[in-house]
């Protein structure tokens, strides 16, 4: 206590000095427009700098939710891109029903398990029937076709990827619409085969291959890959085409499940 009093006696004027200067400073920035403008501006610079660095740190924590939101938004945009077919197909709606404007719904999902090393590869998604997924739906990612769902439970879904010998996808050459079947025979996970293309088809190296839209699984025009080579075996009527897949199956993360709202109708008719 004595020391404190001594300290105050000895250095009280320093404290008084600081208090008075703070008071003056407050008065200056409070009542002088020129100084207060600079004060606000420079304090904003400082605050902006701090917030900038703070958010560059904290945004890492939000990355997963951010990418989920982005995936959802992408799914919406994707629906608008591929679904125009139905609106331009001349269908007349008597009632303005937005639900019937779309043939396909796009549902975002994350790949939680994926194998590419076997002969029959599967992947697992973190969404199930509670999010509207069901067996037979196609799966794509930002670059192209991924696979088809084969098992769906409430929370998860499993599918065969295009790197599976049981996977058959109806595809077509984008340039001239010759269609065929995409399949995989094992080996290089970046390459697949396309069969059933007749020998009179005009093929070139580099032709883009897209989904044909004939099946009820994928809408037409989704990227699959490009032709890197083709070959006509003696006596065969069909080309043997090598295709470089546009999807990198080894680094799959976010995918979109395509739900065809009219798949039942198409299946029933084609039975």
């Amino acid at each position: 206590m004595q020391n404190l009093l001594y300290f105050l006696f000895r250095y009280g004027y320093v404290i008084l000095f600081i208090c008075l200067e703070i008071l003056c400073f407050t008065l200056i920035v409070r009542f002088n427009p020129h100084q207060s403008q600079i004060f606000v501006k420079s304090s904003n610079n400082v605050a902006g700098w701090i917030y900038d660095h703070y958010s560059s740190v904290t945004q890492y924590f939000g990355l997963s939710s951010m990418s989920r939101e982005l995936a959802e938004e992408n799914a919406l945009l994707r629906r608008d891109i591929i679904d125009n077919q139905l609106q331009s197909s001349g269908a007349v709606h008597l009632k303005q029903d937005t639900a019937s404007d779309y043939q396909y719904e796009i549902l975002p999902a994350r790949v939680i398990n994926n194998r590419i090393t076997g002969l029959d590869n599967f992947f697992t998604l973190n969404a199930g029937s509670d999010r509207g997924l069901s067996v037979g739906q196609g799966v794509i990612d930002g670059k192209g076709v991924v696979g088809i769902l084969t098992d769906v439970n409430e929370k998860y879904a499993r599918g065969i990827s295009i790197l599976n010998r049981d996977c058959r996808i109806s595809v077509a050459i984008e340039r001239n619409h010759f269609f065929g079947t995409l399949f995989w025979e094992g080996g290089n996970p970046g390459m697949a085969k396309m069969g059933d293309v007749p020998k009179h088809a005009d093929l070139r190296i580099g032709d883009k291959v897209v989904t044909s839209g004939f099946s009820a699984v994928f809408p037409a025009g989704i990227h699959v890959g490009e032709v890197t080579g083709f070959d006509l075996t003696d006596g065969s009527n069909f080309y043997d085409i090598d295709i470089r897949l546009s999807t990198d199956m080894a680094s799959l993360q976010y995918v979109y499940v395509i739900r065809n709202l009219f798949s039942e109708e198409q299946r029933k008719l084609e039975q």
Partner: protein, 172 residues
């Protein structure tokens, strides 16, 4: 005349001189707004040597605030005045003549010599002006303007301070 009354009078005279004469003179439309004549720091300059440090801070603040009232710049002169008052004891200590100060003296030319007084007064005035113009500009980017204003205002103010000291010849 009582010592306190003397300082109260000086307080009032310097304040009135500053706001009635030199404020108008500084703005007298020379088209060169780098000159401000400040005479009121003389109040702090001439306070007795053994006056309490805290008292000096309070008096500096009061005079600065009074000037601010007329200059419409709340806090600006006061901040510079408080700074000047704060520095003065250190300056006095640094400039202490051999043998120390006599009891109950004021730092006047009469007591401590003309040379000593003007050196002492100019240092305090420079500190005051520099603080004032720094706070007036309020940003580091205009440091050259601040220095220019300090120098030009110092010359003008110093002339007025010399005149004041010659006319009134304060002894205590």
């Amino acid at each position: 005349m009582n010592q306190i009354t003397r300082h109260v009078w000086r307080f009032l005279i310097l304040l009135l001189l500053q706001v009635l004469v030199f404020q108008q003179l500084s703005l007298a439309g020379f088209g060169f707004n780098y000159i401000q004549i400040f005479i009121y720091p003389l109040f702090i300059v001439l306070l007795p040597i053994d006056v309490g440090k805290s008292w000096m801070l309070v008096m500096g603040f009061l005079l600065g605030t009074s000037v601010d009232m007329f200059y419409d710049s709340p806090g600006l002169h006061a901040a510079a005045m408080v700074m000047t008052s704060f520095v003065r004891p250190f300056l006095l200590k640094g400039m202490e003549p051999r043998g120390g100060y006599k009891m109950n003296t004021s730092p006047t030319p009469y007591e401590l010599g003309t040379n000593w007084f003007y050196r002492y007064a100019s240092i305090l005035l420079t500190i005051h002006l520099f603080t004032y113009f720094t706070l007036e500009a309020f940003q580091l980017s205009s440091i050259f303007v601040v220095i220019l204003k300090t120098i030009s205002s110092f010359l003008a103010s110093m002339v007025m301070i010399i005149l004041y000291v010659l006319i009134f010849n304060p002894k205590k």
